[in-house]
């Protein structure tokens, strides 16, 4: 496997992990809205909190995490861009 292929295999794996997280916070949670709402967080019913704020915040965190992780993958295979690029 060439360096490029190995880089892409790892990138693809990372993409799948990111999308699993995304799928959980955007869709899986809300399949169980009624059940979640019996729990509470900060005094809010949980499903209400997640759709109003929680999932949104999770997406922001996922995006910063995924960008950093991808930079590390690029570095590992020597595809890191120069700062002044």
């Amino acid at each position: 496997m060439s360096n490029k292929d190995a880089h892409w295999a790892k990138t693809r794996g990372h993409m799948i992990v990111t999308l699993v997280l995304w799928f959980f916070f955007s869709l899986v949670l809300f399949m169980f809205g009624t059940e979640l709402n019996t729990m509470s967080f900060l005094g809010y019913p949980l499903a209400y909190y997640m759709t109003a704020q929680g999932s949104l915040l999770a997406f922001v965190v996922i995006l910063f995490w995924t960008a950093n992780k991808q930079e590390k993958i690029d570095e590992e295979f020597g595809f890191s861009e120069r700062e002044d690029d």
């Binding site: 990111t18 809300f30 005094g43 109003a52 915040l57 690029d74 861009e81």
Partner: protein
């Protein structure tokens, strides 16, 4: 004070700008105390901010192709994030989102998840690769990856339908706000709005739009957050509403029980003469509606908005402007952070506003009070005059019930400061914020359409020998034509036939999502597959929309149809996108695999380093 170039000084420049805007707000507050009328304060807010945007647009004028199309690819990560956030949050988001949550509660908030979750798809599947590709427009990527004029033209067609659906609504919003703030007729307001939009974008293209959008983001976020925090501490919601409204949400649940969530019959509402567009609360605020269908409706709406987000060209093209691939990736994260600041506040504003009106223990409460008392309240009178609120005493008991109070969704953002007793300077600020939100999105959309027409249709297909000067003249002429066409439609209030902005997302996801994603992630995807996918996707989506939307199906077939599996007109992308995917895969597998040069091109797109596929000038 300003050593080094413009880019190095951006934090200083926008810092000064923000300070200047704060000083302006204070001056207006002093003017209000000194007796300047509310109307004049509104005029000054809108006029002052629009003049600043126009000034930035003028300073950013350019005669270079890559500055015009992609801002010279020099926009730093965080600033591109702010510009994207302004590009994203439309006049509708600004004035209507909180109203949507106010009336729709939990169910409506699928939009919030959809309009933010889509950015995860943008960052992982598309933005970094499109940036590496080095294209000027979204069809530029599709045209080069798959090769050929036909596929390029097809993608321009989808871009045009999706963006134009969206832009008329934005110009409409600019017109509404301009007319209310400046006290001019709506038809005139639309053209004033258009001229402001064109001044920002015409001379400098993407470069000018970028720097005005950053300025507009600063205005709109200040204008949204100050009232939310202020109202919250004023009505006893706590100093930090996002973390502290748990009790208020529970209280709303109790009040819903107390007043009862009653559905009015259409006949009753017609008999009482409720003006069009006004709504009443009939669903719970935080409770999750029971049943599998309700869950499916939530999920399908979220899917449509997420996938649509990842296919809307005016958003994707913002990531062409960053200096590098990693900057593009980071920039998506910053965009969502800046969007989050507003989106997470909208439900809080809705909660506060709802509680202020519903809680009989608060001095602002009106539900459960006597109707004659409510009708003598100053703000109720003012908003009744312009048919934005309405009272119908269905049961004739003289007491205002929850289902007897009608209101337009926009009123939540525009009137809550007044209801809670904030000074008018805050309402003026809200007008300026709404104007900024509507203008920034309209700018981005008009530019996306005219760039695709001038670059992909004129330069790549019609006249590939055109020189730089000629290309930029064509681009600007198209910009004016597209803007004028949008304003023309808006001024006749024909926007109601264009339905909802959600349609733009459904159109984009039906025709563009899979051709874009598979272009990067599936080497086997062929030109024929892409053409067939785009055409099948957009046509099946469009046909389903005509079939399911009562206004259209009545006009064409004289019948109304029951949505299939609950897929109504807001969700028709659920039909178009799968059709696009299946067609594209099947046709790709049936046709010859792309040649070695194309495969190498895809390989190059997938790594961040090395030369862009398309040169700096193309």
């Amino acid at each position: 004070m300003f050593k080094g170039g413009f880019i190095q000084n951006l934090p200083k420049i926008y810092g000064l700008y923000t300070g200047g805007f704060a000083v302006f707000i204070i001056l207006m507050a002093i003017a209000e105390q000194a007796g300047v009328s509310a109307k004049n304060i509104g005029v000054m807010f809108v006029a002052f901010t629009v003049c600043i945007y126009a000034f930035i647009g003028y300073l950013s004028r350019t005669v270079q192709v890559d500055a015009y199309y992609v801002a010279g690819r020099s926009v730093p990560t965080v600033f591109n994030g702010m510009a994207t956030a302004a590009d994203w949050m439309s006049g509708a988001s600004f004035v209507a989102l909180a109203g949507g949550v106010y009336f729709g509660g939990y169910t409506y908030m699928a939009f919030l998840v959809g309009w933010t979750g889509g950015y995860v798809l943008v960052a992982t599947l598309l933005a970094p690769y499109l940036r590496k590709f080095g294209c000027y427009t979204v069809p530029d990527f599709i045209g080069t990856r798959y090769g050929g004029n036909l596929v390029r033209a097809c993608s321009v067609f989808v871009l045009f339908i999706a963006s134009f659906t969206y832009v008329t609504a934005q110009i409409n919003a600019t017109g509404t706000i301009a007319s209310r703030a400046l006290g001019i007729p709506f038809e005139l307001g639309v053209w004033v709005g258009l001229i402001s939009i064109l001044i920002c974008s015409m001379l400098g293209g993407m470069r000018a739009v970028t720097w005005t959008q950053v300025a507009q983001y600063i205005v709109l976020i200040i204008a949204y957050l100050i009232p939310v925090f202020w109202i919250s501490s004023k009505v006893g919601g706590g100093v930090f509403p996002h973390l502290m409204l748990g009790d208020e949400v529970a209280r709303l649940g109790a009040l819903e029980q107390q007043f009862g969530l009653v559905k009015n019959s259409a006949a009753d509402m017609k008999a009482a003469g409720v003006p069009g567009g006004l709504k009443y609360i009939s669903g719970p605020h935080s409770a999750v509606p029971a049943g599998g269908m309700a869950v499916w409706k939530y999920l399908s709406l979220a899917i449509c908005m997420m996938v649509g987000t990842a296919s809307l060209p005016h958003i994707l093209m913002r990531y062409f402007t960053t200096p590098s691939v990693r900057a593009a990736r980071k920039s998506v994260a910053w965009s969502l952070f800046f969007i989050f600041l507003l989106y997470s506040s909208a439900p809080m504003l809705a909660t506060l506003s709802k509680l202020a009106l519903m809680d009989p223990n608060l001095p602002t409460g009106i539900i459960g009070k006597s109707i004659s008392d409510v009708q003598s309240i100053e703000w109720v009178q003012r908003w009744s005059e312009v048919k934005q609120v309405f009272i119908a005493d269905f049961n004739g008991d003289g007491i205002l019930q929850l289902n007897e109070w009608f209101m337009r969704g926009d009123v939540v953002v525009l009137a809550t400061p007044e209801v809670a007793g904030l000074p008018f300077v805050i309402s003026g600020l809200v007008f300026a914020g709404g104007m900024a939100a509507a203008m920034s999105t309209a700018d981005g959309l008009v530019l996306a359409i005219s760039n695709a027409l001038s670059h992909d249709i004129y330069y790549k297909i019609v006249n590939p020998k055109a020189d730089t000067a000629k290309r930029l003249i064509v681009a600007r002429v198209l910009l004016v034509i597209i803007g004028a066409a949008g304003a023309y439609i808006a001024s006749f209030r024909l926007t109601s036939i264009l339905g909802s902005v959600a349609w733009a997302f459904d159109f984009a996801m039906s025709g563009l999502f899979f051709p874009l994603v598979l272009g990067v992630w599936w080497k086997r995807a062929t030109r024929e597959g892409a053409i067939a996918g785009i055409i099948a996707g957009i046509l099946s989506g469009l046909f389903y929309l005509l079939w399911v939307y009562p206004k259209f199906s009545m006009a064409i077939w004289g019948v109304t149809n029951t949505p299939w599996l609950g897929i109504d007109h807001l969700r028709f992308g659920m039909i178009g996108a799968p059709v696009c995917l299946v067609t594209m895969v099947v046709v790709s597998l049936m046709t010859k695999e792309p040649d070695a040069a194309t495969q190498r091109m895809v390989d190059e797109t997938r790594i961040p380093t090395g030369k862009a596929i398309l040169g700096k000038q193309h």
